[in-house]
Amino acid sequence: MASILKKRTFGREASLGIILIFCIASTGFINPRFVTGDGTRDLLSATAIVALLAIGMAPVMIMRHIDLSIASTVGFSAWLVADFCAKNPSFTWWQCFVIGGAVGIAVGVINGLLVAGLRLPSLVVTLGTLYIVRGGVYVVSNSVDYNAQEMPPSLLSLGQKTFAGLLPFPFLMVIILMVIVGWYMKYTKPGRDCYAIGSNPPAADLVGLKVFRRTFLAYIFCGFIAGVAGVFYLMRFAQVDSTAFYGQELAVVAAAVIGGIGLLGGAGTAVGVVIGALLVQTIQGALAALGVDAFWKAAINGFLLIVAIYADRVLARRTEKALLAQRIKERV
């Protein structure tokens, strides 16, 4: 039984990593381009935004909440940043991040107040803000699109930078954020509080944890990351319209869940989430490399999500059974 418990807590990242390597290897076998430097750079660039958002959402989901508004926030931030840049040609890359981050924080504050302050169910609240923020983009944009020529060259060139020949700038940021968030969640009191709150909310109140503050700040952080991700969106696509990143929130949730963050909170790591995002993207890339059409790509994505949840459930049930058996033995 001890082995089951161990597997459940420590094995998640390792087994995901093995599946990831297996997927990359087998795709590379069929389509060798997939494992070249170009292929790797493509994979990492394509994963960066979802991975970034999934790390941002990790603390929220660990606390047994969710934030569905992120994709709308990405769209809103991307459009507003592009708009600022178009009106102020002197803008450079860091100003983009300031504006994007501020937009994200604003949405995060609203979500945080509603979920942590009024204790409304996060699923409904953020579904609401999903529509409100997207509606905001439609209204503000007034069907205006922006293209590369309106954006600061410093920003676009930053997006093209690679490190060590393999690591695109956006994914470097993912790795840095992953290390910081991973460390913070494991080694600081506020980080641990998140796990405790998600694991057993009533008990968190009883031991006097600051539930409001943690939840509120987690939403602000999640919103901030979504705002920043909007700038990464501009870097990658160099164009934006009011439907930017539409409907992608569920891809983020899927990456997080596949990466080991249970919807019931209390578990999961930043590393797992990034591997989850890579895995989703690898499989997408692999299917594209194999020439599978778009419908099947979406369907297989959904299938993967269900398999991940099912695997979790099976493990949980096996643990439960082992425990009951043990308790019965103790009682005799």
Binding site: M1, A2, L5, R8, T9, W183, K186, Y187, T188, K189, R192, D193, Y195, A196, G198, S199, N200, P202, A203, A204, D205, L206, V207, G208, L209, G265, G266, A267, T319, A322, L323, L324, Q326, R327, I328, E330, R331, V332
Partner: protein, 501 residues
């Protein structure tokens, strides 16, 4: 650090009400350092409210509480923790996803520089576990610990907070004999370290084995505060029960007929073992015993919502399929569950829809529900049980507890069952309605239904039942006829497992 015998906690004339219900009407409690103090009383006497006030979950309305020589700061769990009060709830409130070390130090993790020092936390937790004399791996996840081990983790948490007083709400309720023994050793160690331990228990044999002082509560007031040497089992039981059977129980004698329910050697090892009994037509049989003694689980197994491992159930001399409520209902069994809000009713649905729920087949026209018939049925049961509501379609949420309970009863009585199982039929309803519910149960028996009643209220058991089966820790202790049963011998059997007193 307090010295042995120093007055640590004093509660004087503490009062608390929840809306209209008075939970505490003036209770006193004084506890000294280095003392194990038992807090006793029947269900609803106010013990849990007392503990929750000290835990900072509730705030008292009136009275004074002094703790460690200073006024007690009330109303916040954090404040109680800071003052040195640790509470171990009946259901341990651990974080199951986290390691044991982390559970011990949650919110107070030792740090090295900016980061939490996990090595140090684990070493300290291991030291605490060693002091408590149990072998637990601090790195292990809390999920899967037995209740007993979870309590040990909670106690370690209390020690790590340097609590001077540790409150335990029915700590032994879910423990096996050897685990109780271990817990008692831990409690004695705490006493030796000059901590005060307040514990609530219904197991009087344990209370007398370990405590130094006993406070008995009844109906929200303190009845007696005595050192263990100045009291004995009989006195304590008398003080707990207090009242004579003054409420009127309208039990009448009915002819008793054939066996309706026959339970044979029923076992579900996690909850109950080797349970055998019968219930006859026109007979009321009570399952008495403490909460957690396996009574509700037996009822649920008979009805098929839960399963059992070995044994058999026969209804009207026919074997009953196990784990199938649908079959049970078809065989005319009805179960009025313990928790009417969660299990007995659809709270947002109307009274009519709740009452007609199980009688749909009789009420439907060709395909759809016939509203006229439903209305007639609802009116009929409204009259029979005098249920009070403004409109038939009012959600049951709006009814009082007593009327809700009558609605559940109506739903099942409308199916004209052969066997009616009622689990805590009068929990949380007022005295007047209680008597009405009792009358209904008696009337149902008079109509030849077999009745199995589970109740934690002794007067109800003694007043209503033809026969009483006393359960303790999942086993049948004894069976008493209406004539043999007294408050004392039922309590003694339920709390000590001894048949006579």
């Amino acid at each position: 650090m307090a010295n042995k015998g120093d007055l640590l906690l004093e509660m004087k004339d503490v009062k608390k009400r929840f809306g209209g219900a008075i939970a505490l009407r003036g209770t006193n409690l004084s506890v000294r350092a280095g003392e194990i103090h038992a807090l006793l009383g029947e269900n609803g006497a106010g013990k849990s409210t007392m503990l929750k006030i000290l835990a900072g979950v509730h705030e008292h309305d009136a009275g004074t509480i002094t703790f460690g020589g200073a006024p007690f700061i009330s109303g916040s769990p954090q404040a109680s923790i800071d003052q040195g009060i640790a509470v171990i709830y009946q259901e341990p409130s651990l974080f199951l996803d986290l390691s044991l070390a982390e559970n011990v130090f949650v919110g107070r993790q030792p740090k090295k520089g900016l980061a939490i020092d996990w090595k140090e936390a684990e070493a300290q937790a291991r030291k605490l576990f060693n002091e408590l004399g149990v072998e637990l791996d601090p790195k292990r996840q809390a999920r899967g610990l037995s209740i007993a081990d979870q309590q040990v983790v909670e106690i370690a948490k209390a020690l790590s907070m340097n609590a001077s007083i540790i409150l335990m709400d029915e700590p032994t309720a879910a423990l096996s004999a050897s685990e109780v023994e271990r817990l008692m050793t831990v409690m004695r160690n705490l006493r030796a370290a000059n901590k005060a331990v307040i514990f609530v228990s219904h197991r009087l044999d344990e209370v007398f084995a370990i405590s130094d002082f006993i406070t008995v509560m009844r109906d929200g007031a303190t009845v007696s505060e005595k050192a263990i040497s100045n009291t004995d089992l009989q006195t304590v039981i008398k003080e707990m029960v207090g009242r004579e059977l003054t409420e009127l129980f309208p039990k009448t004698d009915h002819p008793i007929g054939d066996v309706v329910l026959e339970v044979n050697d029923l076992t579900n090892p996690a909850y109950f073992r080797n349970v055998s009994f019968t219930v006859r037509k026109g007979e009321i049989v009570a399952l008495a015993g403490l909460v957690g003694s396996g009574r509700s689980e037996i009822a649920r197994s008979i009805f098929g919502v839960d399963s059992y491992e070995t044994g058999s159930v026969k209804i009207n001399n026919k074997p009953l399929k196990k784990n199938s409520p649908i079959t049970a209902i078809a065989e005319k069994i009805a179960l009025v569950p313990e928790d009417r809000r969660q299990q007995g009713l659809f709270m947002v649905a109307g009274v009519n829809r709740n009452i007609s729920m199980e009688s749909f087949d009789r009420l439907k026209g060709r395909i759809f529900l016939n509203f006229k018939k439903e209305r007639a049925l609802t009116n009929q049961w409204r009259e029979n049980l005098s249920i009070k509501y403004a409109d038939q379609s009012d959600p049951v949420d709006r009814l009082s507890g007593g009327n809700q309970q009558k609605t559940v009863l109506a739903k099942w009585l409308a199916t004209d069952p052969d066997l009616l199982i009622v689990d805590e039929p009068t929990r949380g309803i007022d005295v007047g309605t209680k008597a009405e519910v009792h009358k209904l149960i008696d009337k149902a028996a008079g109509e030849g239904k077999a009745i199995l009643m589970i109740s934690s209220e002794l007067p109800e058991v003694l007043g209503m039942a033809d026969r009483i089966i006393v359960m303790r820790e999942g086993r049948q202790v004894t069976e008493l006829s209406r004539k043999e049963a007294t408050q004392e011998n039922v309590i003694a059997a339920a709390t000590t497992g001894k048949k006579g007193i």
